[in-house]
Symmetry: C2
């Protein structure tokens, strides 16, 4: 069942609402507005040509030639969708469509088209092209929305959600000086993209400046595929904390030092790694913990390591869970240290606070999927997205579609064409539903 | 109790043996010949000046300026001891003293004076200067020995017992091309030292070419100090085997991959490291096992390691023990792999066969120490020494003296002056005893 206002809007009959009998409005809508699936998938194929690797997938690093060419083509697509198109001061591509109510804040939807080195053809690309396709469908059907609509293609998501951080006001002078994977600083990159660092403050949006932000994305995990679910309703983007952990033992001759006289930092590191795994998995929930980097010193086969430096990463949707896991890990590390004469030092190196999505948007996504006959499942996003920054500005929602094999950031990243179409239709319906229901 | 022949030899009275009454020969020798302890320790201090580091200890890499200057000074010391001195074709310093029996093979004793980077003042230095002091004492007291005596200062022990491998015939063309820590190849190094690679075959000694080899060395471990023992009687130089172990898992996004869907090579590496420790310590004996080097790939805090490469080293005096430990480790690694979806590949990268010392020499060292009122303890050498190569040529024996704190290959490597003197006196007495007792 849909609201009468919404039903009519979908049919491009918003103006007729006043003259239709009430009972008609209450009827279920048998054929909601749909996007052009063939066109969507054709644009995905076309975008995959920019920065294509010989072995498949793309390397389309932010600020590279491939990025610039892809952006040029993407902007033309935004224009074809009938949107007023500009590059904002931060270098993001923004396409605007006026709403019927001048007092409303915009509904923003989009993603990014930059990639990691040897990345795939769906991460960011799908959400970007889906946003354009949704706007184009709305335009083609002459649907009036109360809210203005904004399609956004954020720049340099893979280098640390740079474009959306400019919007949330989280891009510091120091960030601008950071050298990105393409070899250019972010400051240089913004200029290359046609932005203007001197006017960066102009793109900042204060909390409440948007009606909602919606982003379609591939899951980058295997939960949807393994549970045979069409649509993931993202409960939030998990927070993450990184620590550099230094374990000090005593370096000594591996031949002359008996086993019971060693203060082996490698043994302590091994115990630590397994302990982190145990602590993280010993309570219910979707929290994850990873030791991804390790170095032993002096690092010779015939010397007992006197020092090991490793990375610890913890992620969860609830910052309190991360804090509690960390406390338990530190406590257990002390025990390991006492056992074999080593000491642990933890140095925090990075932190992203969790960004829960808006419950009203989750419900809207679920309702839209249901209407389209698609199954849904709620799940957190383990990866970072521009939506995490947008959640600080206004209500944010994310729609996931299945990643085959859960593979991402790799050439064989793949999402089936029908799932791309499903996700884009859910995005379209959710935009219309949000336009009807949210202030 | 000592033999009559031996007693008289020690007193420089070998010639008197025939005219002394038999009952006198059977008396215990109250005052065996002693080295000049003050002189020995003064030479140790002097040698420490060559390549001295600002923070203490020495960096006297083979073929470096410091090595060349130290060798020049050491050669002058060998000459002062009354020995015919030469640099052999392999670049070793050899000092010779004629024996009374022209048919006898030489008793060889010595060590090395090159060091590791930022090494100490006792590893090699003590054994070298002790050998010279022993020869000098014998010369000063006009003691005749049946066997010729040879003092040897082997070149580049720290770079892989290069000088003694030239003697045992184990120095290949490929070895000669290896670049050493001083930046020079071994071939270049031999020329720098005054050797002659084209005549390398001339230094080779076939098995049986020596009567015995004896080497005094610091323990480089803490067993003697902790058991309050004066003299270590080395049972052999342990063999060692190195493997490069590659663990293949599956690299994936640390945020989007749930804990129960990971094939984390780091977890497998941690289990492996602890398993090696458990296998090595779960049976009696002095075997040791070490994981000293590790690298995780791709090696980012936010990526589950898909590959880990680490080193495995096993040492024991018995090659069969090493083989059996290795088999048990491989078997257990397979289990770990099955548990978390990883595979282990073992690649042998280095092997030194164990070199047991000669039982007659162990007994001679023990008898000499006992006579000097010194306590002894049998123990293996966990570190490699030139003696391991010499054991392939003839009977080899090693005398250890305590290392304070077990520290070696470091500036704070230290052995007490009295222990240096004790060890050198044991070396002297053992040389004389071997001269008397061995063919």
């Amino acid at each position: 069942m849909t609201s009468r206002r919404e039903a009519l809007r979908r049919l491009g009959l918003a103006g007729a609402a006043a003259i239709l009998p009430r009972q008609l409005w209450a009827l279920p809508l048998s054929s909601p507005l749909r996007i052009n699936g063939e066109r969507l998938n054709a644009t995905l194929t076309k975008l995959s040509e920019f920065g294509r690797n010989p072995q498949g997938g793309v390397t389309r690093l932010a600020y590279s030639e491939a990025d610039l060419h892809a952006r040029e083509w993407t902007m033309s697509l935004v224009r074809e969708a009938g949107l007023r198109t500009e590059i904002d001061a931060a270098g993001n591509i923004v396409g605007r469509r006026t709403g019927t109510d001048a007092s409303r804040k915009p509904i923003v939807f989009g993603s990014h088209i930059d990639s990691v080195p040897e990345g795939g053809n769906y991460d960011g690309d799908l959400g970007s092209l889906a946003a354009i396709e949704v706007a184009r469908t709305i335009e083609e059907h002459h649907v009036d929305t109360r809210h203005p609509l904004e399609v956004v293609i954020f720049q340099n998501e893979e280098g640390g959600v740079v474009g959306s951080r400019a919007w949330s006001g989280d891009l510091s002078e120091q960030d601008l000086a950071n050298v990105t994977r393409s070899g250019k600083t972010i400051r240089e990159g913004i200029a290359i993209l046609g932005g203007d660092v001197s006017r960066l403050a102009s793109v900042r949006r204060t909390p409440g400046a948007i009606a909602a932000y919606l982003e379609l994305h591939i899951e980058q995990g295997a939960v949807l595929q393994e549970t045979d679910t069409d649509i993931g309703v993202v409960t939030g983007i998990v927070g993450l904390n990184w620590w550099e952990v230094t374990i000090d033992g005593f370096a000594n001759h591996a031949g002359t030092t008996p086993m019971d006289r060693r203060r082996d930092a490698m043994i302590a590191a091994a115990k630590f790694t397994l302990m982190v795994n145990r602590v993280v998995t010993s309570r219910p929930g979707r929290q994850v913990g990873t030791v991804g980097r390790i170095a032993a010193f002096p690092g010779a086969p015939n010397v007992i390591p006197g020092k090991v430096v490793l990375s610890l990463e913890l992620r969860d949707l609830d910052a309190a869970v991360i804090a509690s896991l960390y406390d338990e890990i530190v406590e257990n590390a002390k025990k390991i240290g006492r056992e074999n004469g080593t000491t642990f030092i933890f140095k925090a190196t990075n932190a992203n606070r969790p960004a829960p999505t808006d419950e009203r948007l989750r419900v809207a996504i679920e309702a839209s999927a249901r209407e389209l006959g698609l199954s849904t499942r709620r799940l957190p996003s383990g990866a970072g997205h521009d939506a995490q920054e947008m959640a600080h500005i206004g209500p944010a929602g994310m729609i996931f579609v299945p990643s085959v094999g859960g593979i991402s950031h790799a050439p064989n990243e793949f999402t089936k064409p029908k799932d791309c179409v499903n996700g884009t239709n859910v995005l379209l319906q959710t935009v219309l539903r949000v336009d009807a229901e949210l202030p």
